[in-house]
């Protein structure tokens, strides 16, 4: 165990954990930020996606020490315009079914729109293929990303 300093959703946090512990478990088990989900633990499903310095990152294979000194954003702290637009579109189109994958889907989609405001279907495939949804909500995920992109484009700067 040793002390790790993190900035999570804009707040400085200090944790006494194994520095090799994946960020996912530090967030969930030690900071009670349970919106970020565990699906595979091997970077195969995307359920654990968070933003580190704005980049979508699989927290299940990121040692907590590697996030030290960087800005970590979880679904609980997602507040960028792209993030808000994605969440609004998700609710409007009733994307979630069981909902378990959706934090990760939303974090990936928000990161996509932040870097690419007008993604094509192929762009969406590229950015979202790492996020599994066993309920196969993919048709609506695709529609919601387009809808969020349109909403962002229409919003006054």
């Amino acid at each position: 165990m040793s002390s790790v300093r993190l900035t999570i959703n804009g707040q400085a946090r200090e944790l006494d954990v194994d520095p090799e512990m994946p960020l996912l478990w530090a967030l969930r088990d030690h900071l009670a930020l349970t919106g970020t989900k565990f699906g595979c633990g091997m970077s195969l499903c995307g359920a654990c996606t968070v933003h580190i310095d704005g980049q979508p990152t699989r927290s299940c294979i990121t040692p907590v020490a590697a996030a030290s000194g960087r800005q970590v954003t979880t679904i609980e702290g997602l507040s960028t315009p792209a993030g808000r637009a994605v969440q609004t579109a998700w609710v409007d189109l009733d994307v979630p079914q069981c909902g378990y994958c959706q934090s990760g889907q939303i974090m990936s989609a928000a990161a996509l729109l932040a870097s690419n405001p007008h993604p094509t279907d192929a762009d969406i495939d590229g950015a979202m293929a790492g996020n599994i949804c066993r309920c196969a909500t993919y048709v609506r995920i695709r529609s919601a990303i387009h809808k969020a992109a349109d909403a962002l484009a229409a919003a006054p700067e």
């Binding site: 165990m1 954990v17 194994d18 512990m21 994946p22 478990w25 969930r28 088990d29 030690h30 009670a32 349970t34 919106g35 970020t36 989900k37 565990f38 699906g39 595979c40 633990g41 091997m42 195969l44 499903c45 359920a47 979880t74 679904i75 609980e76 969440q87 998700w90 609710v91 009733d94 994307v95 979630p96 079914q97 069981c98 909902g99 378990y100 994958c101 959706q102 934090s103 939303i106 279907d121 969406i124 495939d125 590229g126 979202m128 293929a129 790492g130 996020n131 599994i132 949804c133 066993r134 309920c135 196969a136 909500t137 993919y138 048709v139 609506r140 995920i141 695709r142």
Partner: protein, 742 residues
């Protein structure tokens, strides 16, 4: 899952398996009338239920109304994505004339018969979710609940305003008396209404007057929490002092702990306990990370004397022998299949193979248990609440009524969470017991535990002989070889396991000469219902063979099916609708590698037809478009029906294209999503169109019926595109090509 009716579920809870084996699986032929008259409210009683908003002044078993006018519907069913947390409140809101914005939902406690599943048993002696029965069995029950609450609110208003109840109207959550211009909200009337006796009879709406049910899109009640990371699943439960456990289970099914050495595991920082339980050895840590590292360090010696050591190859060899042998039970028999086959001039002989499949719900199985001297509390995505309650009681040495079940949203299930041993819930209870109730325990299955953990859709082999005589008469003979799901469970018996052969050609087509037989191999791999159960394989071979027969007869696949569906008007109607919406009668904009195929199938009381369009390049199959038509009776929340069809299609495509659990020497070869491949967004058809057939019949299932037709529709499309028949799942076009040449 497709047990629809349990003759005596009380027996599940008290008997030994031997005592129960005579209990027969009874196929429910009609949901309507199956005891739905069971009163949901006891006249004169308005006791609050155990969960939900107990501070609500108006608290009936299914409907609570709070002073702020929010109406909370208690869901007796598990929400695992299928939308019951929207569909069930919609039924209540309709009869209550509530506004949708005031509706809320909460899980009901485990309590029978109040919250029993009336499709499993008209007396409601078992609470559980499955067989796509949630809306169907709640339909009249919740309409009555809504109408009863409405009548009581009206009565309270009539008394307060000193007017006749007949002159009072209710709309959008407002109770009004027009001539005196008085209005009240539900919240304002709730306390007074709660004092009234419950009317014994209420009048239900004429469905023609429905304003919510079947009317376009009602927003899901769970979308917001699920889009903001706020839905709480079992894996998110945090209790003071809680520890986390993982279990080392035997590497082969049927293995047992011989001995174990916990010293290295206990040396891992954060590990607090290592205990043996009936299913293996549990490592308990202060967090999941330490528990997992502890498990890696644990040394267990297994007693594998009773373990299943065969692999898939050996099992299939055995299955082929069974298919050629004489030992089989008759599942369906009509006319003279053998005689007609002997005279047929076009003959098809085919073996179909279907692998074991894991459900792989997105949330790995998780449950939390807090054990005290005289009570136990469970938090989980419970699918068989009262069975889980009894199993937790057994493991902890308590009585069932001492176990409180908190049913949380499940991160998917697809059947996995419903089993008579309550596997993961029994495990967490046994860990809590073995650790003396010192701390609340959360048990997490890792993805590897889930994929290798068994309870799979059974491996199946179908041997089919089909033919057409010169008079056009079709003969169909099928031998099904596959494990029984119900064997060993309280629903098992000596006869045919209906879940092994459900949705067969005898039931689904007007065939005159048909014979379906079943052989049951004894295999030590635990199996379970997997989204649409026996229909997952029965629909495939049936719809592929029917297509081949159409081709042999030189007829269009839709026209050929319609000819054999004269006594199946619902099948015919959805097939026509799907064909029309897909433009079946227009020339197909084909081109190289393009193909189009169709399939139709009834399951869980609903009929679904799908037309799939594919592009095949090399040996790669891409599904471009799916047109789906469904008859599910009255579609309570049509957008949820659409979502379930889309979901069933995606789930079925995963299995068609990639899904397989294989075993080598009794050990499972796959362990995570790298080798257990599932559908991703880039592989999902870009176009999935769902058309709901208008209906005035009572609602039937939607969670499962979207799955069975998709694999055969795609296989038939691939045949059109390539000339290759696919008879083994998951599809391997290269292998199928080779076999066809050989």
């Amino acid at each position: 899952m497709d047990f629809r009716r349990i003759e005596d579920p009380a027996a599940l809870l008290r008997g030994t398996p031997a005592e129960l084996s005579r209990r027969q699986f009874v196929k429910l032929t009609a949901l309507a009338g199956s005891g739905l008259t069971l009163g949901l409210v006891v006249p004169g009683c308005s006791k609050p239920a155990a969960t939900g908003d107990t501070s609500a002044p108006f608290a009936m078993p299914f409907v609570h109304i709070a002073p702020d006018s929010t109406v909370t519907v208690l869901s007796k069913h598990l929400e695992a994505g299928q939308g019951v947390w929207t569909g069930l409140p919609a039924i209540v809101a309709e009869e209550l004339d509530a506004s949708w914005s005031q509706m809320r939902v909460a899980s009901a406690p485990a309590e029978v018969p109040t919250y029993g599943n009336l499709a499993f048993d008209p007396k409601g002696r078992m609470q559980g979710t499955g067989g796509s029965t949630s809306v169907a069995n709640s339909w009249l029950q919740l309409r009555r609940a809504g109408a009863t609450a409405r009548a009581m609110l009206v009565q309270a208003a009539a008394a307060q305003w000193d007017v006749s109840a007949d002159e009072i109207t209710v709309a959008q959550g407002v109770v009004s008396h027009a001539s005196s211009r008085r209005k009240a909200s539900f919240g304002e009337l709730a306390s007074a209404a709660a004092q009234l006796s419950v009317p014994a009879e209420v009048t239900l709406k004429d469905p023609a007057q429905f304003t919510l049910i079947g009317k376009g899109r009602l927003p899901r009640l769970d979308s917001r929490d699920k889009s903001f990371g706020r839905e709480r699943y079992a894996i998110d439960v945090m209790l003071p002092g809680m520890v986390t456990a993982v279990v080392m289970r035997p590497p082969r099914f049927g293995g047992k702990v011989a001995s174990f050495d916990a010293s290295a595991a206990k040396a891992i920082p954060g590990v607090v306990d290592v205990v043996e339980i009936p299913r293996g050895v549990a490592v308990v840590g202060r967090d999941l990370w330490s528990a997992k590292k502890g498990r890696e360090a644990l040394k267990v010696t297994w007693d594998e004397s009773a373990a299943e050591k065969r692999g898939t190859a050996e099992l299939l060899t055995h299955y082929r022998q069974l298919a050629g042998g004489s030992e089989a039970l008759t599942a369906a028999q009509r006319g003279d299949a053998n005689g007609t086959l002997a005279r047929a001039h076009k003959l098809i002989h085919a073996d179909f193979e279907f692998p074991y499949l894991a459900h792989a719900p997105m949330e790995p199985l998780t449950a939390v248990c807090r054990l005290r001297a005289d009570s136990c509390e469970i938090w989980a995505g419970c699918q068989f609440q009262t069975v889980d309650q009894v199993n937790a009681a057994k493991m902890t040495g308590l009585r069932a009524h001492q176990v409180k079940i908190n049913t949380l949203a499940a991160g998917g299930s697809f059947g996995r969470r419903a089993n008579f041993e309550s596997d993961y819930i029994a495990e967490v209870a046994s860990i809590a017991k073995a650790t003396g109730g010192r701390y609340p325990v959360r048990l997490v299955w890792t993805r590897e535990d889930d994929i290798t953990g068994g309870r799979y859709r059974p491996l199946n082999l179908h041997r089919i002989d089909a033919g057409i005589g010169s008079d056009g008469r079709v003969a169909y003979r099928q031998r099904v070889v596959g494990q029984s799901i119900l064997a060993g469970s309280p629903l098992g018996g000596n006869g045919v396991d209906a879940t092994a052969v459900e949705g067969n050609a005898a039931d689904e087509y007007d065939l005159e000469d048909v014979s379906i037989t079943w052989s049951k191999p004894e295999v030590g791999i635990p199996v379970l219902w997997w989204r649409s159960v026996g229909h997952t394989h029965m629909a495939f071979s049936k719809e592929v063979i029917i297509d081949e027969l159409a081709e042999a007869a030189g007829q269009d696949p839709v026209a050929f099916r319609l000819r054999l569906l004269g006594k199946h008007p619902r099948h015919s109607a959805v097939l026509r609708l799907a064909a029309e919406k897909a433009g079946w009668n227009q020339p197909f904009a084909g081109g190289k590698g393009r193909g189009r195929g169709v399939a139709v199938h009834e399951s869980f009381g609903s009929v679904v037809a799908q037309v799939a369009e594919v592009t095949v390049s090399g040996d790669d199959i891409r599904v471009d478009r799916v047109v789906c038509a469904v008859d599910c009776g009255i579609a309570v929340t049509p957008d949820v029906v659409v979502a379930q069809m889309q979901s069933g299609i995606g789930y079925g495509l995963s299995a068609a294209l990639w899904g397989e659990i294989t075993l080598t020497g009794g050990r499972v070869d796959q362990s995570n999503f790298d080798r257990y491949r599932v559908m991703r967004i880039n592989e999902m058809p870009k176009l999935v169109e769902v058309h709901i057939l208008p209906s005035t019949s009572s609602p039937s299932g939607v969670g499962e019926p979207g799955t069975p037709p998709i694999a055969p529709a795609v296989a038939n499309a691939v045949r059109m595109a390539t000339g290759v028949r696919i008879r083994r799942l998951p599809f391997d076009l290269a292998a199928a090509r080779k076999e066809q040449k050989a």
